[in-house]
């Protein structure tokens, strides 16, 4: 990297916050995405919004590309470095600035860990619902950049539904705050929404103003076991048809279940075809009634057995085990290729069956789990990146799954983002009008293409 830029960065941040040695950079050449890596030119650790802006201005002056990064747990390559880029790591911006119980808001710097946000809310009897699998280490800024989901999407929505305001550093180094604490606000375009899920291509979020909700007084967790996936899917449809909106309706197939149990050792059965993890929360009386109704519905739709978690600790163990599903699948083969396809809820069982059939046809191992309540599926291919032939078959299978997803009215990604991993599929989902709009927005905010260029989509001819 340009020595003059490095010198200026060291002057701005302090030498200790600028990394350039291979032993320091190699651990930053990947994020949580499988089989992708690229070597950055330097990694910097600004301490506040002003220092982030300084980094952006200096990089721009030297014509260097910027890639923002939180804890690097993303699953689409959104925070994957670009070769020779400047990685701006935001973990030092880790203060909660204000919790406002009167307006039910929480104002935090972007590097605060997701779980710490909910813990701080809990002190006031409040709740921050989005709970991505990596919530114990993911940063809230990264959640906003990828518009992360979690296990509670069906009832509570995703990160976007909780963002009321953002402080953003723009590609020219200018800083602006978008939004406020008002529940109603129709002044101008909803510009904060442009940055939610923008994957670091439009700006760097340095502060987040979040909406909180009252913490549910009661919670019940149930586990239903099935001999076929169809029975599990039918249960989900019947629960929704009964006008029950549980906060969680997760399923694991047998392959996933075996891996999760191998890791968590909490006594999950490994001989069933599917497991449904269901949770209802809210007023204690409503929760008790809903839990009982869900149990009945599950049994009526062929559940072999329905277990009720004895206490909060057991419920937490079940949720934690579910969150480990993706990583636990890595026990089987060296490489795990994770998908995030999502379809309208009513189409989910068709997609589940299609994934299993596709894997069989290409002689591939697949473990499937996901959010049955919101139609978000995570087929995970268990493979080996060193086996070119098998990797080719994985690509074919993924392509077919994407086509089927779109045919069913779905989307290529429900909660992980496009990044690099799903970029090739986006033109299949978007018509030319949508693609042109994407490019126009990028061109307006980042005309020099300095912010995470080549993520989400490519310009037809790079400038």
């Amino acid at each position: 990297m340009n020595p003059a830029l490095l010198q200026a960065l060291r002057a701005a941040l302090g030498a200790g916050h600028v990394l350039t040695q291979p032993e320091d950079l190699i651990p930053y050449r990947f994020d949580g995405t499988a089989a992708l890596q690229q070597m950055p030119g330097a990694v910097v650790f600004p301490g506040d919004t002003e220092e982030v802006a300084a980094c952006v201005r200096l990089a721009r002056a030297h014509g260097v590309v910027v890639v923002p990064r939180g804890s690097g747990t993303g699953l689409s390559g959104g925070s994957l470095p670009l070769a020779g880029c400047l990685v701006v790591v935001l973990v030092r911006l880790d203060r909660i600035l204000e919790t406002d119980p009167k307006n039910l808001t929480l104002h935090a710097q972007c590097g605060v860990i997701t779980k710490a946000i909910d813990d701080a809310a809990a002190v006031h009897g409040l709740f921050y619902p989005p709970d991505p699998g990596s919530m114990k280490i993911s940063t809230i800024g990264g959640n906003v950049a990828e518009n992360s989901g979690g296990l509670r999407g069906l009832k509570y929505g995703v990160t976007r539904d909780y963002v009321m305001g953002l402080r953003v550093v723009l590609p020219d180094g200018a800083v602006t705050f978008l939004g406020n604490k008002c529940v109603k606000d129709v002044a101008g375009y909803s510009m904060k929404d442009l940055f939610i899920g923008s994957e670091g291509t439009l700006g760097i979020v340095t502060e987040v103003l979040l909406k909180l909700v009252p913490r549910p007084a009661a919670r019940r967790t149930l586990v239903a076991l099935y001999d076929s996936m169809e029975q599990a899917a039918a249960t989900v449809s019947a629960i929704i048809a009964a006008h029950i909106i549980p906060c969680t309706l997760e399923f694991l197939d047998q392959m996933t279940l075996r891996c999760v149990e191998d890791y968590a050792r909490i006594g999950l059965p490994t001989d069933v075809a599917a497991l449904l993890l269901m949770e209802t929360d809210g007023h204690p009386a409503a929760v008790a009634a809903e839990a009982e109704r869900m149990r009945e519905i599950a049994l009526a739709h062929g559940a072999r057995e329905v277990r009720l978690a004895a206490d909060a600790a057991e419920a937490e163990r079940l949720a934690t085990a579910r969150r480990s599903a993706f990583s636990a699948l890595a026990r089987v083969r060296p490489t795990t290729i994770l998908e995030d396809v999502t379809v309208p809820r009513s189409e989910l069982s068709k997609l589940v069956a299609f994934v299993a059939e596709t894997a069989r046809r290409h002689s591939l191992l697949v473990g499937t789990f996901g959010h049955m309540g919101d139609g978000n599926l995570h087929p995970t291919f268990l493979t080996d990146e060193r086996d070119a032939g098998e990797m080719h078959r994985v690509e074919l299978a993924l392509s077919e799954i994407v086509d089927e997803t779109l045919r069913l009215g779905g989307t290529i990604t429900g909660e992980h983002g496009v990044g690099l991993a799903k970029k090739a599929f986006l033109p299949r989902q978007f018509d030319e009008g949508s693609l042109a709009l994407l490019r126009a927005i990028k061109q307006a905010l980042d005309p020099e293409h300095r912010f995470n260029p080549g993520k989400i989509f490519d310009f037809p001819t790079p400038p």
């Binding site: 032993e23 320091d24 651990p27 949580g32 990583s327 060296p334 490489t335 080996d384």
Partner: protein
């Protein structure tokens, strides 16, 4: 640099590939937590190891420093859903650092030679040094030297360490435990007791207590008087050849086929002792015996709770105790429940759960010597959580943790916790109280 291939390159590549860098390990890693730098995280270190294995990176001095900045606490193994064998990676990486001399410095080489190649390789020599140290500490010579100011002539690093020297016990294990002890009545099981090296010199009473508890539970106890170091110190510090030699000597010493179990009471040793099969897998003369050995080695808490430990009818003299988990007991051996259950057997004893009980105390083998600053920060964190429990005593089952906590408490006047004890010692006290009460 050596021309032969890196030890990391000869490792089964699947072990390196097992890490899918999801980041679940990050919040459980004390060095990442302290620095927020990926290089100091498990997945970052594995990325560096893989780069060395792939020939992209030399095992440089910076690589060496990183491998020795790692505590080797294995908290990442407990956190890892993918089942990465970090322990093997870490030991191989340190062995590679030593093979190419990436961390070499004259003073460091001298101390490694003295400790790994002599003191902890030769049990007779270690005992002799222990006896000399015992005389020095107990004759008044140490106090005189400390008063004289002579210590200021030592290099700074040694001056800092000098007060941490463990107090040598008045009698070592062989003076306290007979080679064969029989329980009252017909023995139900026949077990061997491992006395360790540091445990033997600094805490032989814990070995005596372990023997007493085994006897009280109907075990015939075989305790060879002179036992070698188990080799964990060597394996964790890049000297796998010496670790293998010590494992072979250990196997030669015990009639494994005539024993129901081989009992260890030190978390750090136990974690290593259970992996002799892996360590000696390529040794045709020992591989089969090492596998048989692995099947017999049991941590004392694991053994007692699995065989139905008898609950004492008297108390142990303590009413409240906190429990600090040795890393290599809870992460290395996944034994977390049994020590608590054992403490729960003692009448009138309340277990006060401590926040972050599985977080490293900073002892980490010889980490408190090699990385004093990070070690001190971890000790302070631990003592803070311990104080918050208000418990007057803390139980822990590893000599390194025991010494670290003891030294930390001695340097913290006014700390509510007054004593450190092995869980088995508390149980032994309760059994003794039955007889006297």
């Amino acid at each position: 640099m050596s021309a032969s291939p890196s030890l990391l390159a000869t490792l089964d590549y699947a072990v390196l590939q097992q890490c899918m860098h999801c980041g679940m390990c990050l919040p459980t890693c004390p060095t990442y937590e302290a620095t927020k730098r990926e290089r100091h995280s498990p997945r970052g270190r594995i990325a560096l190891m893989r780069a060395v294995a792939d020939g992209e990176l030399q095992a440089s001095r910076a690589f060496a420093e990183e491998m020795y900045y790692c505590l080797g606490c294995l908290a990442c193994e407990s956190a890892c859903p993918a089942g990465v064998d970090y322990g093997t990676l870490f030991e191989t990486a340190r062995a590679e650092v030593e093979r190419v001399g990436a961390a070499a410095a004259p003073q460091r080489s001298f101390w490694r030679w003295l400790t790994l190649r002599h003191l902890f390789l030769k049990p007779g020599l270690l005992r002799a040094v222990g006896q000399a140290l015992r005389y020095y500490q107990r004759s008044g010579a140490e106090a005189a030297v400390r008063r004289s100011g002579l210590l200021r002539l030592l290099p700074l690093s040694l001056q800092r360490l000098e007060p941490q020297t463990p107090l040598m016990a008045a009698a070592f294990s062989n003076e306290l435990i007979s080679p064969l002890e029989r329980p009252a009545g017909v023995p139900r099981r026949r077990v061997a007791l491992l006395t360790g090296c540091v445990q033997d010199l600094a805490f032989p009473d814990i070995n005596r207590d372990t023997a007493d508890v085994l006897l009280a539970n109907g075990c015939e106890v075989l305790t060879p008087p002179v036992q070698p170091c188990c080799g964990s110190l060597h394996a964790h510090n890049g000297d796998l050849a010496a670790a293998r030699e010590l494992a072979r000597r250990q196997l030669d010493l015990f009639p494994v086929d005539q024993l129901d179990a081989v009992i260890t009471n030190a978390g750090g040793c136990g974690s290593h002792l259970k992996k002799y099969g892996h360590l000696l897998a390529d040794d045709p003369a020992y591989a089969a015996r090492a596998r048989a050995w692995d099947a017999k080695v049991q941590d004392i808490h694991q053994f007692l709770m699995a065989t139905g430990c008898r609950a004492p009818s008297a108390g142990c003299g303590e009413s409240r105790v906190a429990y600090h988990e040795s890393c290599h007991l809870c992460h290395g051996q996944k034994i977390s429940r049994q020590p608590r259950a054992l403490l729960g057997l003692i009448p009138g004893l309340e277990l006060e759960e401590m926040k972050e009980s599985t977080w490293c105390c900073g002892s980490a083998g010889i980490y408190n010597i090699t990385q004093p600053e990070q070690s001190a920060a971890l000790l302070e964190r631990k003592l803070g959580h311990l104080a918050a429990t208000g418990a007057p005593a803390v139980a822990t089952a590893n000599p390194g943790c025991h010494l670290q906590l003891q030294n930390g408490l001695a340097a913290s006047p006014g700390h509510p916790c007054q004593s450190v004890a092995h869980p088995v010692s508390l149980l032994a006290r309760a059994y003794r109280a039955e007889k006297s009460g």
